[in-house]
């Protein structure tokens, strides 16, 4: 299943003005692996993902993706191999474009033919009926929109999918459907995932390994099994785990 590292990040630093939001972060994700990044707001977890996707150009350190060292700008081939799904399905789809337009755009950018069969297949892959093809985002539910966003990412057949809180805007029943879809797609296509979430249970369910971040630093890297065994080493990871188990009356 794996053929070496898909993503290597070494000594990544990101600053916005005076605030140093990612501090000397290093990790490696193997090909075919699902890697989680968890942390509270302001921990820098989404910023890491934006650096990897090429959305944030101001950083220092070394980022190697699929064997190639990455600079601040990325070329078309990169975006064909690495795609991202965003948190808010209400904000990430163009309100005046139909599902068909949304899915056709990446194909047009990359000069890929066979529009018809590719769009039809992308819809089928994410479990949306063909009848949805000419609908606008406002005619879809939150879960359906997130499926469209996933279809848009997958239509280029990338090897790496960057997922930024893909289900935190969804109801739990819809979250289950979207997580199942992501799991099935990963095993079918041997995709590599990086999943950013504040929800430890979601990361524990989806990922093989994970990194806990706090205030820009990688606090602890662990196997998902460590999470289930409630056996993190650092104080902060323990605290986060305890807090996620709900309220305790002392």
């Amino acid at each position: 299943m794996n053929g070496g590292p898909a993503i290597t990040v070494e000594h990544l630093n990101v600053s916005f003005g005076d605030s140093h939001v990612v501090r000397d972060l290093s990790f490696t994700v193997q090909e075919g692996e699902s890697y989680g990044i968890v942390g509270e707001s302001g921990s820098g977890k989404s910023t890491v993902l934006r650096v990897l996707a090429g959305l944030n150009r101001d950083w220092s350190g070394t980022v190697t993706i699929l064997g190639e060292a990455q600079g601040p700008r990325r070329d078309k081939a990169f975006h064909r191999a690495v795609q991202m799904v965003f948190q808010d399905p209400y904000g990430s789809l163009h309100p005046k474009k139909t599902v068909d337009d949304t899915l056709a755009e990446p194909l047009a950018i990359h000069g890929i033919g066979d529009r018809e069969p590719r769009i039809a297949r992308a819809l089928k892959d994410v479990g949306l009926p063909m009848a949805f093809r000419y609908r606008y985002p406002h005619q879809l539910s939150g879960g359906q929109r997130q499926r469209v966003a996933i279809a848009r990412a997958l239509i280029l057949e990338p090897g790496i999918l960057l997922l930024d809180e893909p289900t935190s805007a969804l109801d739990v029943s819809i979250q289950a459907e979207v997580l199942n879809l992501l799991q099935a797609l990963r095993s079918e296509r041997r995709l590599t995932y990086i999943l950013v979430s504040h929800d430890l249970a979601v990361v524990g369910h989806m990922c093989d390994r994970l990194m806990v971040m706090q205030l820009g630093k990688g606090v602890e890297e662990m196997q998902a099994a460590t999470l289930s065994a409630r056996a993190p080493v650092t104080e902060y990871a323990k605290e986060l785990l305890t807090a996620s188990e709900g309220f305790r009356r002392s």
């Binding site: 109801d171 289950a176 369910h205 807090a243």
Partner: protein, 288 residues
């Protein structure tokens, strides 16, 4: 107002309905909900569109046109809310029954300092001088565990963090010392560690002051660990009402409503890793 005996419920609601009359027909957001609230933490859980927030708003008479609130009985400490004139209902709102909204970013006034907003809430309900209201507000900020209340008093909404904003909102709602607090997803915009601090404040109020708390949430784990009783809502109806502890009790699952089981089943669980999460099948008969 006479003090109600301790065992009298704070709120009794029978067959509550919220309808929206739209050009394309009547949308029934709440369809016949009945419950009583004592000095306890009552959770209302459900997915979006289940009518849980509408229930909270209906109690406060905050349903906007074209919505209408109907009920067979709505009684607050022996006083019939349905027969009450609007003005009197308004006096009750904020003073005796209060509500904390989900997002402090959109609920605080951006052009007035947060301290003045809290003081204003006090002066609306009590005859008090500005100075007295200010002192009360500072004490209230301290009660919701805000450090340096005097400094925070002078800040504007955009200068405070999410967790602080939510505590400021709670301070504002509690300064009038209501008997009933309706909290609509009060912690879902917050990080888990801050969330627990806010819950602790609410919890102390129920324990120490004997307040009745209606805690509206979509988070089953949280409701199960925080509340005493839980109403599970779907499509505007209560599917079941149960002691919160039973949500986590594997032995009690046989008695559970299939919708409750479905909701529990689709949550990822660190202790039971599965390849596939259970998905929910909804039965139209539940709404019959």
């Amino acid at each position: 107002m006479s003090i109600a005996p301790a065992d009298q419920p704070l709120l009794e609601i029978d067959n509550l309905r919220v309808n929206f009359n739209t050009p394309t027909g009547i949308v029934r957001a709440v369809r016949g909900l009945s419950f009583t609230l004592g000095r306890e933490r009552l959770g209302i859980v459900g997915e979006s569109g289940s009518g849980k927030s509408m229930t909270g708003r209906a109690i406060l008479d905050l349903i906007p046109w074209p919505g209408e609130v109907l009920a067979d009985r709505m009684v607050y400490r022996g006083q019939d809310l349905l027969a009450m004139p609007r003005a009197e209902r308004r006096r009750l709102r904020g003073r005796h029954i209060s509500m904390v909204m989900q997002d402090p970013k959109f609920s605080l006034n951006p052009v007035v300092t947060v301290g003045e907003q809290i003081a204003e809430a006090y002066r609306v309900h009590h005859r008090a001088s500005r100075r007295e209201a200010r002192e009360r507000s500072l004490a209230m900020l301290e009660a919701v565990k805000i450090r340096e209340p005097a400094r925070v008093y002078e800040l504007y909404a955009h200068e405070v963090s999410g967790g602080m904003g939510q505590r400021i909102m709670i301070a504002m709602m509690l300064i009038a010392e209501p008997d009933i607090l309706i909290a609509d997803e009060p912690t879902s915009a917050l990080d888990v560690t801050v969330q627990l601090q806010v819950l602790k404040i609410l919890d102390d109020l129920v324990t120490d002051r004997g307040m009745g708390l209606i805690f509206i949430s979509h988070d089953l784990h949280l409701v199960q660990s925080f509340c005493d009783r839980v109403i599970v809502m779907y499509g505007g109806k209560a599917m079941e009402t149960l002691p919160a502890a039973e949500l986590a009790d594997a032995g009690a699952m046989a008695k559970r409503h299939p919708y409750t089981l479905g909701l529990l089943g689709c949550l990822p669980d660190l202790d039971h890793r599965r390849d596939k999460l259970q998905t929910l099948t909804r039965d139209p008969a539940w709404l019959a």
